[in-house]
């Protein structure tokens, strides 16, 4: 019996690795409820070629909705396709990752289907025959235990809270969903995407993240010191809101309550005081290193190793000695 539909994370051309934690959550949900799950891949015509790689995770079916009108899947169209797929799959719940894609599309699906929704789910388990979910609130300073009516709804999961999914025993069946492009919503026109070059690991998936704050002063210094250390460690680069606001780093690197949430093996915070909003995005990292001139900076309260030093001296030394 399949009763959960997983909405694959996509940029329209490829299925993104952010899909994996949503599958893990669906598998967990399946274990607790005795059901299975299906996977929905949507995007432009070439997305059909991605299905093969996603047959190995134990989904009952992999639904493929490929159409030129979905090459840049805006929320109105993605949500419409997701609703149609959920109906075809007989899904009771829909699951995705709490990325900007999932956070845009899934609540719209919840509105269309008039279902309850939980955002940023960290954990699910069955207790006294009901599903109990845990999710963060107030910038991660509070963890709420919640239930939804009928134990069904829309769930976005926090990627860092779920490890890689298990492989399935048999390859999933692939089913093509017919998409009538002309019948999709026409009110949104995709104009363009301005993206930095991606020469480093993706921030939310990286084993090591090196982040910098405003004391880096300018984009060139940020790239030389934060980027330089990240490259030495094979890691990704992150930034504070202040660094992004002052133009030192691009917005897609922001870590925090309203940016990305990361939980790498090693998080190095240089020139970061540790505001509540920043801590919300990184305090579940396994090992945290803080380098800051202010010995009383709040970042030291969450750091495993704190170095009171000027990053303009400490980072070049670190880069040279690694």
């Amino acid at each position: 019996m399949s009763n959960v539909l997983v909405l694959a994370e996509t940029d329209g051309a490829h299925v993104l690795p952010g899909t994996l934690p949503a599958i893990t959550f669906a598998q967990t949900l399946g274990r607790e409820t005795g059901g299975g799950f299906d996977l929905l891949i949507l995007g432009g015509a070439e997305i059909a070629g991605e299905a093969e790689a996603w047959r190995s995770y134990g989904a009952g079916r992999v639904f493929v909705a490929a159409a030129p009108e979905l090459a840049h899947p805006t929320a109105d169209r993605a949500a419409a396709v997701c609703v149609a797929a959920a109906q075809q799959a007989g899904a009771e719940s829909i699951v995705g990752t709490s990325s900007t894609f999932g956070r845009d599309v899934l609540p719209r699906v919840a509105g269309l289907l008039d279902l309850p929704m939980l955002s940023d789910v960290l954990h699910v388990e069955k207790a006294e025959s009901r599903l109990m979910f845990r999710r963060p609130m107030v910038a991660g300073n509070v963890i709420a235990t919640v239930q939804v009516e009928g134990d069904r709804g829309i769930f976005s999961v926090r990627g860092t809270a779920f490890g890689p999914p298990e492989k399935g025993n048999t390859p999933s069946e692939v089913q093509t969903l017919n998409v009538d492009g002309g019948a999709l919503p026409q009110g949104t026109t995709w104009i363009g995407l301005e993206a930095g070059e991606q020469k480093r690991p993706e921030l939310t998936m990286a084993r090591v993240v090196v982040s910098g704050g405003r004391p880096l002063r300018d984009a060139e210094t940020f790239e030389r010191l934060i980027g330089g250390l990240a490259d030495k460690l094979g890691g990704a680069v992150g930034a504070t809101r202040a660094a992004v606001d002052s133009g030192i780093a691009p917005n897609e690197l922001q870590v925090g309550q309203t940016g990305k949430v990361v939980a790498p093996e090693l998080y190095i915070a240089a020139g970061i005081s540790g505001s509540v909003q920043h801590l919300a995005g990184m305090k579940d990292s396994k090992t945290i290193v803080a380098i800051n001139t202010d010995p009383d900076a709040p970042i030291f309260e969450v750091a495993d190793y704190g170095l009171v030093a000027d990053l303009h001296q400490a980072l070049p030394e670190l880069i040279a000695k690694l």
């Binding site: 900007t100 845009d104 509105g111 919503p185 995407l193 897609e252 093996e265 909003q277 000695k321």
Partner: protein, 250 residues
């Protein structure tokens, strides 16, 4: 053009949240403010008017009489009038979006400009759900917004995981504000005094005709366990040794 700006009242994000022993929010000594993202949305609406567009701005809140205060602040910031839906402040976006959709039926706004999420429950759902109920386009996480000269479309730059995406949506539409859309103005005393004469309508929720029950139940709230205390290292060399030999992460 009419712009509707929903306003939520939230605990001051710069004060530490406290819980009661039985796992509820301790509201006894809380300073309440307008949700910072809603403030950004309202500021953007005011700037659209200041840039020359003919705009009426309606601020709407859903809650008890205490919600008059944030709505008065919204009026002082530049809203033309305010609407308070008198209800026990709902927390489930499934409920809030239905009530806002009913308000949109009455008000017929061309643009709903609202915060991308409330900083207390961090749910990030209401705008998208509202757009779905109204059957209109949405542009979430906006960091830039311009209206077409004829007022039929909005061009929105969105902060997404991959970078900055630009969409054009036909109006009416829902646009949700991200941090970098603007820096809200400081409200000066004369504006606060002047705002006392602006209209604030109170409407019992029953008159909207819809009030679905909440379907999400919060059982308890907890503070996450604090991280184990770390230690200071004296030098870069000591740091490298600790990372290699203790933490074994490099």
């Amino acid at each position: 053009m009419k712009i509707l700006v929903p306003i939520k009242r939230v605990p001051d994000p710069y004060e530490r949240v406290r819980l009661t022993p039985n796992g509820q929010l301790d509201a006894s000594d809380v300073k309440w403010v307008i949700n910072p993202f809603d403030e950004i949305a309202l500021e953007e609406a005011v700037r659209l008017r200041e840039s020359g567009a003919s705009v009426e701005i309606v601020a709407v809140g859903i809650g008890g009489p205490a919600w008059e205060e944030p709505l008065r602040t919204a009026l002082a910031m530049g809203a033309d009038r305010a609407l308070l839906i008198l209800d026990e402040a709902p927390t489930d976006p499934g409920v809030i979006s239905h009530l806002l959709a009913a308000v949109c039926e009455r008000e017929k706004p061309d643009l709903i400009l609202m915060g991308k999420q409330a900083i207390d429950d961090d749910l990030n759902q209401t705008g998208q759900r509202l757009a779905a109920l109204l059957g209109v386009p949405q542009a979430t996480f906006a960091s830039a917004l311009t209206l077409s000269a004829d007022g039929t479309r909005a061009r929105v730059t969105r902060e997404v995981d991959a970078g900055r995406e630009t969409l054009e949506v036909t109006l009416p539409a829902v646009v949700t504000a991200d941090l970098r859309l603007n820096q809200p103005r400081y409200v000066a005393l004369p504006a606060i005094i002047k705002a006392r004469t602006k209209p604030l309508e109170r409407l019992p929720v029953g008159e909207l005709g819809v009030r679905p029950p909440a379907r999400v139940t919060v059982l308890k709230l907890e503070t996450p366990p604090p991280r184990k205390a770390g230690r200071k290292v004296g030098s870069v060399d000591e740091l490298i040794t600790a990372l290699r030999e203790e933490a074994k992460v490099i």
